[in-house]
């Protein structure tokens, strides 16, 4: 395969290795995938043709649309195509983490029309009064969304958000390093066992790590009692002796460089490094796991809500969605778009894990401020424990 050229920004993100990296990596990954899928789908696939290729936005504000997105998280020509179709230019700026997004909106909407928080942050921002309800009548392409994404717990009835991507946590591992060739099909191998002593890397993100520990203990990721928290804390304190480090969403890199043999990571990240080293693989443990989903929302006080609705509807179009997926290579919740993708994407068992495994996975819920803080304190105790 041809060498993937990263832009300096992508290289920096790759080096930084935080949550952005997963998107930067996927973009690099996507660049090659796009290269061999170009034959199937000519570049800049036709935008949603309406009214002779044009989109007429009722009550368009005639102002540029301000779009706040993750880095390397949109199709190559998506924004230009939207401008060509609707005459509304899109000005995209980037954020690096949900916490950054949330912090930016603490003092009110700085002027954005469309933003992209992840599942539980949709709840958090809605609760903080930062989002405005979506007018579903203006988003007819909602019909393209796979039914299982239409009524998530974090946003019942999709009142505030439309799904853009989803991803799932699991265990990434080096096949040749597994004892007796047994795949690590339980969280036990990373959370409660010394079998891979010194070769384990856990997720540094405290909330997700605790949620997975709850899952390992046979609870829902959203079950929360002080006793359960204490139990999970004890497990992590004990396991810490066998752990190499808590990674910053760069677990795939640690795995690839043989620093560790087994990590908690996102499916997309492992799919990416598997292209470089076929000895790696990904599994969703039998206990089930944690889902994430990035969603498009309109913040309260958006200057151009009509344009924003039109833009969200445009993104949910089958062809537009497929073009985006070809670039970013994340699992798409858009059934119509997925149907247009090639088999290498559709049938990748890491990008789209088996349905019976996914059935046991859940979204993390935002359970309030105090909950977040008590998990954070528990994590501090885990890290400081001797």
């Amino acid at each position: 395969m041809a060498e993937i050229k990263l832009t300096p920004e992508e290289t920096a993100l790759f080096l930084k290795g935080n949550s952005r990296s997963r998107r930067a990596f996927m973009a690099a990954f996507g660049a090659t995938a796009a290269a061999f899928s170009l034959a199937a789908c000519s570049k800049g696939s036709a935008p949603a043709a309406k009214d002779g290729g044009k989109i007429v936005i009722e009550g368009s504000e005639k102002a540029p649309l301000k779009f706040y997105n993750w880095d390397t998280y949109i199709g190559e020509t998506t924004l230009d195509d939207f401008k060509a179709a609707s005459d509304v230019p899109v000005e995209m700026t980037l954020f690096a983490s949900n916490d950054e997004l949330f912090a930016k909106f603490r003092a009110g909407n700085p002027g954005y029309d469309v933003i992209m928080p992840s599942n539980e942050y949709v709840t958090r921002m809605a609760e903080a009064g930062m989002l405005q309800p979506l007018d579903h009548a203006k988003i007819p392409n909602m019909k393209n969304i796979a039914p299982e994404f239409l009524d998530p717990d974090f946003d019942k009835g999709r009142k505030f958000s439309m799904p853009y991507t989803w991803l799932v946590l699991g265990i990434g591992y080096r096949k040749s390093a597994m004892k007796d060739g047994v795949a690590p099909d339980s969280w036990k191998y990373v959370l409660d066992s010394d079998q891979y002593k010194g070769k384990i890397s856990l997720l540094g993100e405290s909330m997700d790590l605790f949620r997975l520990t709850f899952k390992y203990l046979g609870h829902s990721v959203n079950d929360y009692t002080p006793e359960l928290l204490k139990q999970a804390e004890a497990i992590l304190v004990k396991q810490k002796a066998f752990v190499k480090n808590f990674h910053d969403d760069n677990g795939q890199d640690l795995l690839l460089s043989k620093e560790v043999d087994i990590v908690i990571e996102y499916n997309g990240d492992i799919a990416q490094v598997k292209k470089e080293d076929d000895d790696l693989d990904f599994i969703i443990p039998k206990e089930g796991s944690l889902l994430n989903s990035d969603c498009m929302c309109i913040p309260k006080g958006a200057p151009s809500p009509n344009n924003a609705h039109a833009f969200i509807n445009y993104i949910l179009d089958a062809k537009v969605g497929a073009a985006i997926s070809k670039t970013i290579l994340y699992p798409t919740p858009n059934a119509a778009a997925k149907a247009l993708m090639d088999d290498a994407y559709k049938n990748n068992p890491i990008i789209f894990p088996p349905a019976d495994k996914l059935a046991k996975c859940e979204y993390g819920k935002f359970l309030g401020q105090e909950y977040a803080q008590s998990i954070e304190s528990a994590m501090n105790r885990v890290r400081a424990a001797k």
Binding site: K16, F105, A128, G198, N245, Q369
Partner: protein, 297 residues
Amino acid sequence: MQNWFENKRFFWATMLAPTVWFLAFFVAPMALVWAYSFGENAGPVNIAITGTFGNYAKAFRPEIIQVLSDSVVLAFIATLICLVLAFPVAIAMTFADDKTKSWLLLLIMLPFWTNLLIRTYALIAMMRTEGFINFSFAFFHNIAVSLGFNLGDYVPMELLYNKSAIVIGLVYVHLPFMVLPLYAALDKLDRSLIEASLDLGAGHMTTMWKIVVPLALPGIAAGLVITFIPAMGAYLTPDLLGGPNDLMIATLIERQFKRANDWPFGSALSFILMYVTLIFFALRTFFEARGGKVSAH
């Protein structure tokens, strides 16, 4: 001084910009953070300034004290190593000829041209299991084995993700902060004193300990402070090089502002860091004042 009234307008014309800057972008935000440290979370975005000391009380939980003391100890060790490494460098720079001096200075400044993140990742590439250090050792190990020494298989050293990795990282990053003030102090040193000491029969080591080091004390103090403070507040280095047991205070603060969304507690922790810093400054001033008295006698 007699021109003070005449020059007042000129004085304010030049001082206006820095004063406004200082007030708007330093004093005001710090005051805000300080006020937050006495506040409580009232909802996801609102902070009520209630005058509570609860946030400071939270900082006395054992795990927070642990993190704080770990930070102080790691920063202290790194600072001492910096001093030991930087002193000979500063001496060499002082006594080098002008051309060499400027080259040495350039070498010291060079790392600042590269982003800290990139430098830290370079360290990771050096130190990881399959990194350059282990590669080199494995290479020599294999040569030794091929020469008939029975050493068995090379077992890679675990260099990353522990406290020594953090200290190495901190020293690497903060060494210039130590070299520069030392050099500034030594460069001003009156060479005739050294010559006198050597002429009067003192050896090189004695001259170093009895003449150079005491005269360089202000520079050493400045170097210690200027190295210790950023080392204690280091964020990237411990985050990237540390292992499961190694949490430093900056990471803890970052988490309060982000994930935990507990700005009041984060503010309190920031100010605790600030208070610790102020204590070290006070100590420095105290020792300087004492040192001044000693030399006045």
